[in-house]
């Protein structure tokens, strides 16, 4: 496989145009931290690395926005933003290596999503190099903008199958003045679900809530951000529910797992019965699971209307699941066809063989 490292978005588009003419498959690559997510590509001729597209173009801190090239790592971006007391409110896996483009394409938001929304809610503009060499923008630099179609959302989580993200603009949040993490151990899954429901139904505004299930008693971690007064008042409220003890923010360290699940928040316990492994599930219903029973778990979750996506291949199983795309799959194929008619971008990696 040839590796190319364009110096600019224009060059990336030109490389794609050439590859498209030759019918050569292109595998876009950021930090390479999640190259084994999705199904393996059917063919790999060229690897297009965004390593040289790594600049923070504009941190408009007074406007709470940043425009950044796709190859910039999340950690580098956050360091730049922190100089003005701001951040992109996401906490993806492996931030030191993972890039903006890769994190967007794989839609890896993290546990802060409960409070701040997902990548899809934080991205406000995108620059995209299409297979035929078109360089297109959608959205813009302002947080509120409904002009034209929102292609930022189309390509977030699209695994690079519609085009190569060369840059993006995000809305930002201030870094919290104070943070506080507390944890409670609960006797079993049923008690865990009950407590979780209670927390989500209370008038609390945690930045993140997760359950950790494995050997031993299940744990619930809650992260608060904000003013000291607000945090203490909320921790007191939690302690009225059950004994919560202070913990280190490290408990929110992301888990490198075999599968990503998404279920309804009130059905997390049910999902994790018979886990026989280890799981961290966020209060949004998104979770990270290590278990020898992933195929059975997938059956159960899909039956409940959720999804289980493999992050490490299992022979004979599609990464995306048996119901992926549903009745919208033909439309997804039609979109792929219009954006990448020769199917050169990450062929076969996405749902339904896209």
């Amino acid at each position: 496989m040839r590796i190319v490292e364009p110096q600019s978005a224009e060059e990336a588009a030109e490389i794609l145009r050439c590859a498209n003419e030759d019918g050569a498959s292109v595998i876009p690559r950021g930090g390479g931290t999640k190259s084994d997510w999705g199904n393996p590509p059917r063919r790999t001729a060229v690897m297009l690395s965004t390593a040289n597209l790594n600049r923070v173009i504009e941190h408009a801190w007074a406007d709470l926005t940043v425009t950044v090239e796709a190859g910039c790592t999340i950690a580098e971006l956050q360091r730049t933003l922190a100089q003005h007391g701001q951040r992109l409110a996401v906490d993806p896996l492996w931030p030191e290596k993972a890039t903006v483009g890769g994190v967007l394409s794989t839609n890896d938001t993290g546990v802060l999503r409960l409070r701040y929304g997902g990548l899809r809610d934080l991205i406000i503009g995108v620059t995209l190099a299409l297979a035929d060499g078109t360089l297109a923008k959608s959205g813009g630099k302002v947080v509120k903008n409904v002009a034209g179609y929102d292609l930022s959302k189309l390509v977030t989580g699209a695994f690079g199958t519609l085009g190569v993200i060369t840059g993006a603009t995000f809305r930002l949040h201030p870094l919290p003045k104070h943070t506080h993490t507390v944890t409670a151990a609960v006797p079993d899954l049923g008690a865990m679900q009950q407590l979780l429901n209670k927390i989500l139904d209370a008038q609390l505004v945690p930045a993140a809530v997760q359950v950790r299930v494995g050997a031993g008693a299940p744990q619930i971690d809650v992260l608060f951000e904000g003013t000291e007064e607000g945090i203490y008042a909320q921790v007191d409220r939690l302690r009225e529910m059950t004994p919560f003890t202070e913990n280190d923010a490290e408990v929110f360290q992301r888990l490198d797992a075999g599968a990503k699940i998404s279920v309804l928040p009130a059905r997390i316990a049910e999902t994790l019965e018979g886990l026989d492994g280890y799981a961290v599930v966020e209060a949004t219903g998104i979770g990270w699971v290590q278990s020898p029973h992933l195929p059975q778990m997938r059956e159960k979750i899909e039956g409940m209307g959720g999804s289980l996506v493999l992050l490490r291949p299992i022979t004979g199983l599609d990464a995306w699941g048996n119901t992926a795309g549903g009745d919208a799959l033909p439309l997804m194929h039609a979109i792929k066809q219009r954006f990448d008619p020769r199917g050169i971008l990450n062929p076969g990696v996405f749902v339904g063989g896209i």
Partner: protein
């Protein structure tokens, strides 16, 4: 059977309107200076009826425009020539309330405020709150990606739409998104929200509802000028706060609000509303900080509304701002531009200068936190040349927004009104790429076909669903 007879057979006599006296109600939406008479108006009561109607439209190549409550301000629901209007007003049932998972499933004709109304007893609310929320429908909100005063903190309609049932422009039914997050596949719900009726018709919508904050306080501060008020907004943001809402009005807008609803606003050069919500202890601290910042920036009067009643009074003038302008001017154009927030003083100076030059008054109401301006350009249609001058002025304001790195619409949509501005905001490759998306949904250009984009374009290749060959799926062969 004629086209109309066929529609009648699908919908029954009560579900079809075709006499000009009755269809005239539908000739425009909230933007009344564009009017087109539809061929007919259908009022389906079920997804199946919507599908049946669209299948006939598809077969007969008749364009259709979906319509909610018709409160849109960009002509998105304006009928198209020789096309029908599909009113979703009768599909107004709340289908499912799932409090444990913070979800609610509604039909498109449900009124925005009724969503909150339904879940309020349990302490929940639906966050997007466009000013028209007591009459506008969720289907229309989805089409326009409606915003409102509180999207600074809570996001727009798109943040709160989890799943959609959509009738595609050929009549097939498809489901986008899911009650669970990150359903595998392209984020078609994200693409559909804000597509202004050009990608199909939503017939069922799953929304996220949220727990009401423990406490809400609204601070009203009077300044001598909008520049001072704007400086206070900057300082609030620089202090690391994210209020639920930050709204600003200039003197003319305040006068209009006073004349219309007697909101008892101080008569000042710039009025700022800051709403903070959350745990009581936090809100108290932050409101004190906001007060201090306002005083430092020259606020001459500060009031804090703490009860629901007091807050309602404070918001009354703001929510009525557009309609109020009718009290001080016979006609006016509502604009919806966006600028990076820091460009606020600059654009306000420019707007004032342009207003003076053209002899027109402009009242300004804005969502100050996110830079969304609503200049209200006042004119008198009876005075020759004023309407044209007002149109020219409001267009020039949008050009300024583009020049300053902003957008031609923050929440009202492009619709009919601003489609000619799209070429100024986006380059040709950008528009062509959006067109690819449109063609994959609607290759025959039947869904609201004349809106959003500057020139109607036809989709190149003949349509036809791409069906992957079994060998492709098995990874044996690759299509080229």
């Amino acid at each position: 059977m004629s086209f109309l007879d066929e529609l009648r057979s699908i919908l029954g006599p009560q579900g079809l309107i075709s006499s000009p006296e009755e269809t005239r109600t539908y000739e425009c939406d909230g933007l009344t200076n564009f009017r087109v008479m539809p061929l007919a108006v259908v009022l389906p009561t079920s997804t199946e009826q919507v599908q049946a109607v669209i299948r006939v439209c598809h077969r007969e190549r008749i364009p259709f425009v979906a319509r909610g409550s018709g409160t849109g301000l960009s002509g998105g629901a304006l009928p198209v020539n020789n096309g029908i209007v599909i009113s979703l007003a009768r599909m107004n049932q709340i289908l499912e309330v799932d409090l444990a998972n913070h979800r609610i499933v509604v039909e498109p004709g449900v009124i925005n405020l009724n969503v909150t109304g339904r879940v309020a007893p349990a302490g929940y609310f639906y966050a997007p709150d466009p000013s028209s929320q007591s009459v506008c429908s969720i289907g229309g909100n989805v089409a326009e990606n409606a915003g409102g005063a509180h999207c600074l903190k809570y996001g727009f309609t798109t943040t709160h739409v989890l799943a959609l049932e959509v009738v595609l422009p050929d009549g097939t039914l498809a489901h986008f998104g899911s009650k669970t997050l990150d359903a595998p596949g392209y984020d078609l719900a994200g693409v559909f929200v804000g597509s202004e009726g050009t990608l199909g018709v939503a017939t069922k919508i799953t929304l996220r509802i949220m727990k009401r904050p423990e406490c809400v306080q609204t601070l009203l501060a009077a300044f001598n000028s909008t520049n001072e008020a704007g400086a206070a907004v900057s300082d609030i943001i620089a202090a690391g706060m994210l209020p639920a809402a930050m709204e600003m009005m200039d003197n003319l807008a305040i006068q209009a609000a006073e004349a219309a609803v007697h909101a008892n606003y101080p008569n000042c050069g710039g009025l700022l509303l800051v709403e903070i919500d959350g745990p009581v202890a936090e809100v108290d601290t932050l409101i004190a900080q906001v007060s201090a910042i306002c005083r430092e920036n020259g606020a001459t009067e500060i009031r804090v509304a703490q009860t629901e009643e007091e807050r309602a009074v404070v918001w009354k003038g703001r929510k009525a701002a557009f309609a109020s302008v009718g009290r001080i001017s016979p006609n006016y154009i509502v604009q919806d531009g966006v600028i990076p927030r820091t460009a606020l003083p600059k654009i306000l100076d420019e707007i004032e200068r342009l207003g003076r030059e053209s002899g027109l008054r402009v009242a300004n109401v804005f969502h100050a936190g996110d830079g969304n301006l609503h200049p209200l350009v006042m004119y008198d249609r009876r005075i020759a040349g004023q309407e044209k001058a007002a149109e020219k002025l409001s267009e020039r304001i949008l050009e300024l927004c583009i020049e300053m790195g902003g957008s031609i619409t923050g929440e009202h949509g492009v619709g009919e009104e601003k489609k000619h501005m799209m070429g100024k905001m986006f380059a040709e490759p950008d528009l062509a790429t959006m067109q690819r998306l449109r063609c994959s949904f609607d290759p025959l250009a039947l869904a609201n076909p004349t809106k959003v984009f500057p020139t109607p374009r036809l989709c190149g290749e003949t349509p036809g669903e791409y069906q992957p060959h079994p060998l492709e799926i098995a990874g044996i062969a690759e299509r080229f």
